[in-house]
Amino acid sequence: MSALRPLPRWADVVLLPILNLLLALIVSGLVVLAIGHNPFTAIWAIITGAFGNGYNIGYTLYYATNFVFTGLAVALAAHGGLFNIGGNGQAYVAGLGVITVALALQDTHWLIIAPVALLAAALFGGAWAFIPGYLQAKRGSHVVITTIMFNFIASALMIYMLNRVLKPVGVSGPESAMIAEAARMPKLGQFFPIFNYTPVNLSIIVAILALIGVYILVWHTRFGYALRVMGQNPTASRYAGISNSRMIIITMTLSGALAGMVAFNEVLGVQNRLVLDFVADAGFVGIAVALMGRNHPIGIAFAALLFGALYQGGNELQYVISGLDRTVVVIIQALVILFTGAMEGLFRPGLQRTLMLFSPEQKAEAIERETVRSES
C-alpha cells in the first residue's frame, strides 16, 4: 500500500472531483428512479433550468455569487487547517452591519453606501468568527464546535434583533425597513437587459475580486505562506517562528469576513431589507464548494457555478416534473460532500493504482520494486 505514488496534479484537481460528482449524481439518480421518475429528464430539466435563457442564467449567477463567498470562507480557513463550519452564522450576523449602514446612509447614493456596507459586512462577519478563532487560539476550544454553537446563537440573536429592534412600526413580519431605491446595489439587468428581472447584481464583481484576492493572499504573500505552513504542519510553523495563535485568529476573522459578503449580496443587492434566514444555508453549500474546488479560487469559481446551477435548476425542476423539487439538489449536495470530503479513500487508491500503469517510468519502477521484493 505504501508503494502507491501520489496522484498527478491533473487527476487530483480535475479527475477526482468529477468522479465524485458523477457518483453523487448516479446515486441521486437512483433515488429519483426509485421514486418512479426518469433521472435523465430530471438532469436535463436542471441544465435547461439553469442555463436555458438569460433569466435562468441570471438566477444561477446570483446563487453562485453567494457560494463563491462561502466557498472562499471555508477554503481560506482550510488552508490553515481550520474547519469553519459557521459560515451561516457569520453571514447572518453580517446582515446587521449591512442594514445598519444602508439605513443610516440611505439618503446618499449607492456608490457611497456600497464600500461602507462592504466594510460593515466584513467587520460583523469577521467579528462573529473572531470569537471562535480567539477561543481556539488562546483557550484551546475546538473551532468546529464553537462555530456550530455560534450558528445557533446568531440565529437567536437575529430573531431578537428583527422582532424587537429592527422591525419598523406598522410591519407585522420580522423584517427591517426597506432601503431607499437610490441606495440599493444596481442589478446586472440594468446594464445587460438579458438579465432583467433576476436578482444578480454588482456584488458578483465583488465575488470575482474576492476570488483573485484570496488567490494572491494565499499563494503570493508572506501571510499566505505562513498560513499554508500552519495548515500542513503546525509544529513546523511554530519552529519557523510563526505565531500559530495569531495566524488562527487572523484567518478565522478573514474567513468570517468573506462569509459576511453573502449579507452584502443579499441585503444590499437582492432583498433590500433584512429578513429572517436570508442566508438560506449558503454557509453549508460553501463546504461542498470548497471541497469540490479543492480550496483553489479557480476550482471554487467552477464549483460555485455548478452549485448555483443546481440550485436554480432545482427550482425549475418542479415545473417540468411535478413532484420533484430542490430537495433533490440538497441530496446531491450532501452526497458531493460525503464523497469528496469524507470518502476520499473510495477512489484515490484505485485511481493511483490505475494511473501507475499508464506512466512508463512509474511502471518500470513498480516492476523493479516487485522484483526487489521477490528476490529479497
Binding site: 500500500m1 474547519f83 475546538h142 468546529v144 446563537i153 424587537r164 413532484g323 439538489v329 469524507a342
Partner: protein, 321 residues
Amino acid sequence: MDFAFVLSLLDATLRLSTPLLLACLAGLYSERAGVFDIGLEGKMLMAAFAAGAMAAVTGSAWAGLGAALVISVMTAVLQGAAAITLRGNQLIAGVAINMLAAGLTTFLGQQWFRQGGRTPQLSGEGRFGAIQLPFAQELAGVPIIGPIYADLISGHYILVYIAFLAVPITAYVLFRTRFGLRLRAVGENPKAVDTAGISVNRLRYQAVLITGLLCGFAGAYFSIAQGSGFGNNMTAGRGFIALAALIFAKWKPVPAMFTCLLFGFLEALQIRFQSAQIAGIDIPVQAIQALPYVLTVILLAGFIGKAVGPKAGGVAYSKER
C-alpha cells in the same frame, strides 16, 4: 408559581430532555471511542422519518420504532464507513449525514405521502401511549409525594423510561465492563489497544452501532411518541444541543443526564413563557433559547472548568504510522 405549575414544568422538562438524553448518550459512545459525531442530528432525523412513515403504513408504533432503529443504524454505518474504514474526515462525514438526512426525508416524505413532506397523522396504536406505573391512581391522593409519583414520574411514554434507564446502563458498561474499558482506551490511545491485539476498527464500529441504535430511539421519540407523525426538519437542531450537552457533561453519562435535564428545563421554560406571555421580565425568549449554546462555549473556553475530549478523537486509526 404554585405546586401544580412547578410539577407541570418539571413534567415538561422530563419530556423535552428525553430525546436530548438519548442523542447525548449516543454521541457519548461514539466520541468515547474516538469518532467525533456531529451527525447526531441527521441520524435522529432519518429515524424520526422512518418511524413516522412505518407507523403510518403499518399502524403499529412498534414497527415504527423498529424501522427507526434499522435506518438509524444504517446511517451510522455509512458514516462509520467514511470515518473508520476509509479514514475520511469525521467532521465532514457528519456534515454530509446531516444534509443527506434533511434532503432525503423531505424528498421521500413528499413523494410517498404528498403532504408537503409530512407523514400522515398517527392515532391509536400508531403512537406510543403514556404508561401508568403501578399504584399511580391509588397514590395520587397522598399529599406532595402522591402528585409527584402520579403526575411526574408515572404517565410517560416508554421511550422516556428507556432514556433514563440508559444512563446507569451506560455508566455500568463504560466503567465496569471489559468492553467499556477498551472503548475508552480506543478513544484515548488506539495504538495501545492495537498492540494488545484488539481490533481498533472493530471496537469503533461497535461504538458507532450503539450510537445508531440510541439515535434511533431518539428519532422515534419525535415522530411517534411526542408528536403524531413526522414533520419537516422535526428535530430542529436538537442533535446539536445534545452535542453541546455531551461536551458540557465532559463525556460522562451521569453528568450528561443532568445537563440534558437542564437544557430540557430551559426549553420547557421558554415554551411556558411564550404561551403565557410573561416575557415582560425583560429576558427575551431568544436569550433562553441561546443559553445552552452560550454555556457550552463558555465551558469549552475553560472559564468554568475545562472540557477536554477523548485524546484520539477525530483521527482515523491507521496501523502503518
